[in-house]
Symmetry: D2
Subunit: 336 residues, 4 copies
């Protein structure tokens, strides 16, 4: 079998990870990379041995014979590049969010529907983390009974705030940037759509977010059509690590995922007490999930099937995030 020829667009921290993961994925070859940064291209050339380096996605797609692209560009390019690549006959893996407006999300959905022979996958990597997969299996087997409450935390370590603040002016806000994963997980675990949302938040440590009508920590309460509740908390000021924690309370059992975001199985007993050190970044915490999702993308192409996550999932998560932002900015309850 010929290997799937892959091009990666965007070589930031996550872009490089995806590119690297392609090199150890069965049935895939890293053929080309694209970035505005000469430094990143140089690094990819040296570390990953890729020779086809571009600064323009169109040039890459037109020059090189590719089967698939992985889009890890800034959020505002996701929709446009997805549409372009799908139309050029490429399979597309797109990082979250699907787009920065709901209209753009729906446009992507439309193009995906028009190209049924192409695999389109969205980077909600948590769905491919072994612990989340295990929890999903438990839920689907009925082990927790009827779901009552979904609780999702997504908090970045404060040590990463400098980068976040630099990007803040162009950010669609914490709900879309950080909480979109939780909106997706809530829909996945609860198997329902929300019917109401109320969101609040504030600038507890970084007043810089005020000028963008945003907070450094925000939260939302949602009700779903099946009566299930969801509480989402997202922020940027955790001191212990990269805090992604999920809980699903059911009538038979409750599951908690990552309530201690431990970096490994070492427990330290010293003058601070008995403690576990924590993961400090998404790369560290979701290392395996990132590998798994790329393998699933390639496997879908090879086996001619669709991934579980559809473009519509992307639209819905973005829509909820947008409504949360709206609720937060205007202090209003929104019935969806």
């Amino acid at each position: 079998m010929n290997k799937i020829r892959v091009g990666v667009v965007g070589l930031g921290r996550l872009g490089f990870t995806h590119a690297e993961n392609i090199t150890s994925t069965k049935n895939a070859s890293l053929i080309a990379v694209c970035s505005h940064s000469e430094e990143e291209l140089k690094k990819a050339k040296e570390k990953l041995g890729v020779t086809n380096c571009f600064t323009d996605i169109k040039k890459m797609v037109e020059t090189i014979d590719l089967d698939a692209v992985i889009l890890v560009s800034p959020s505002n390019f996701h929709a446009e590049q997805s549409i372009y690549c799908l139309k050029k006959g490429l399979h597309v893996f797109c990082e979250k969010p699907l787009a920065t407006t709901i209209d753009a999300c729906k446009e992507v959905e439309k193009i995906v529907a028009e190209n049924p022979s192409k695999v389109f996958m969205l980077g909600f990597m948590r769905r491919y983390d072994p612990s989340y997969l295990y929890a999903k299996k438990c839920i689907d087997e009925g082990k927790i009974g009827r779901p009552i409450l979904f609780r999702g935390y997504s908090v970045d370590p404060n040590s990463a705030i400098e980068g976040a603040l630099k990007y803040a002016a162009h950010s669609p806000g914490q709900f879309i940037d950080m909480a979109v994963h939780d909106f997706d997980l809530a829909r996945w675990f609860l198997k329902a759509e929300p019917t109401s949302i109320y969101a609040i938040g504030g600038c507890y440590l970084h007043q810089e977010y005020k000028q963008y009508d945003d907070g450094d920590n925000v939260s939302a309460l949602l009700k779903f059509e099946n009566e299930a509740m969801a509480f989402i908390f997202a922020g940027r000021t955790a001191t212990h690590g990269y805090n992604v924690e999920t809980e699903i309370v059911g009538t038979h059992a409750t599951l908690r995922i990552g309530s201690v975001p431990q970096k490994n199985l070492v427990e330290i007993l010293d003058k601070e007490g008995v403690r576990k050190e924590c993961s400090q970044s998404f790369n560290e915490r979701f290392d395996v999930a990132f590998k798994n999702e790329i393998q699933e993308f390639i496997a879908c192409i090879v086996e001619e099937r669709y991934p579980e996550i559809s473009a519509h999932d992307g639209t819905q998560a973005s829509y909820i995030a947008e409504m949360a932002t709206e609720s937060f900015k205007n202090n209003i309850l929104i019935n969806l």
Copy 2:
């Protein structure tokens, strides 16, 4: 020094505990008990050696020379009995809630203010639990920085549902019955009053609550005047035990209290995995807190000082609970 002479009104599970705790409290004597149940009075006589047994509080107060009463009667009697006893010149320890209406709460507040020589204390026992006290100390010392989020869970084990359902017709609802402790804790830890509240919930296991316009699990999202957020979850269907869990996320650190409601320090490794068994009731979990609060009540009387918890705290917690109930019943956002 003469011992403080105490009468206990109501001898249900918690009433008996309070009566028993009086017998081992320094400077206090259990002099009389009052209950509608002959069986409970008999038990108190046999186990606690109390000989002055009454079925009518007024008869008890008028017949016996008492310094103080502990009111553990049904919620709808709290206000009336508190006022009566204060007016009779007694120190009063009253179980939560202060009253079932805000007007009644305020009436108690007024009578308390008119009797400055009498100690009035409300049974928010969590404030006297060693773990909660330790957390409060950490917060007051600035160790968590600025508070961002308070999260409070109060879930009874489903094994206790029969008793709860029997009482449901007379219950003011889960927010007042269960969540009132969390509303008090949120005010205590956050040192602020809420400015908005949105509450939801449903009948996930016990449809019986529908007829009372209540749910078996409910939750609320609150914003406070200092920008802090609070998420409260209360319910009646926990399978693992009596689940009282509190988290305070701050800009410097996060504290979690009781995230594993372990019954003791034993860890079991067997075919279920590595596990801890859980406390099954408030008596088991808050054993020490109940002792501590009664000791504090007596100490306040002896040392002629006021307890930290004021009648006003009771009014506020009840008010928030009432607003949460209102929000839940009408699916509206309430700005306070």
Copy 3:
């Protein structure tokens, strides 16, 4: 019923605790105290309201009408004082160890046997800790199956080393001072006597112990007559707290007690990771156990029954500790 009139001998940290616990024990009165320290006597007078203060045990016993004594004097007085008090017709609670030589232990056993109407109890308080009691119940009910391995850790925090070093010249060694509790627990849980022992150790931090042919950390491996194994570790250099941890591995399940010696139910998430702070002393960890054992002592007197722990248990624990010391000092395997 008349209250049991109790005198406490020795008012160090633990002596004061026992005296204080008597004041809140049903059916008991603290009548007299005895100590060589005027300061300690003064503290007892002020804090516990005891007026009969002595510096000589004999004077106390002869002057005051007592029913029972609690002996918390230095180890080398235990046997002599126990015998004296038993012969004077008093019930005796004696702190561990029973005596500093096996001959003295046996002499106490003899006098105890000759005074069957008197309660004699030894202060192996761990047997009265709720977690240990729960584990014992599980074992007795067959829940762990056949016991394979007992592991016992008893390590004092290094912060307490100064006091320990002061006392080192008169200490019978770590096995008798520290590990005797574990030898007792091993016999209790395994329901068997050891048949062989090999002990090692060293001075890892405090070379001062070398001059006494002792170590600051020591350990022993034992085989029991029912084939069960035991590993005991005792030391004085823990940095995280007072580390008393016990494990019983069985064919059906394994139990661990106190593997995190947490001081309360608060979990802290900060730059050190996710952690629990630890108990720093035996008083803090075994607070409830100390209360329980004194209550049991008084209850035995009142109900005219014997406590579970016999003088013979004290002899056996001391004997094993002595053999461990012997093995350690000579690097030999000892078959018992």
Copy 4:
């Protein structure tokens, strides 16, 4: 660069894992496999796409152009096959133990020394587990101070007992089969050799081991030349999972690795309490370690350097295991 051409000998559970890992290892190609089982060869052909299949190692080595072999054959073939392959000019990765006699171990050491251009690596995979690597780094950086005690548990789940019993007649005993990893870890962490050993054990559940003068659970206490102590426990009857747990107590801090052998980050709250499910096999627990060690083997070949684990490490671990077995069988203390 040409890829390292690898042949795998032995395709049992671990052999297949190694073969599979070669297929995703940078700079390596799986060229040939060798097994006595037609079924295993068929599986390798189908799943891994390897076409050169042999039932005889010599035929494989003589027919196919290989750079390296991975030996996962039964323990009694390790030494002979290692020597044969080294002499044929191949790099060798050999599963533990190095050999079943110390003489054979030393013979391998000699041949390894005579072939300095060939990489020889032993499969002590725990040294390549991220948690063990992290602990080692902490120790080497002095974070735990001076090591006092090493505690190592290696217990297989009882669910795997059938396979173990089948193999029991040919087994050199639990110390060599199970505990050899811990003897290696103890040397690695403590950086010293043992000077005395005493070992005990028994048949607690499976009397079948009696006929082989072995136990189903065994333990050993060791003293090292630097005064450090080690307690090793190995067995075959765990009910909660594959229990590999390691503790290193130091004067500054204590490290614990895998004290809860959790299969993932999911915590379950249900009628059993709050629990984590456990890994059930070495493949599950050491998945990453197995990948890492194979990558290190290939990297050593490519970069012309030696792995950290030497043949001498294999000899020493086997020697200690043999002395433990000797001590266990004769109930004697052995000074090394």
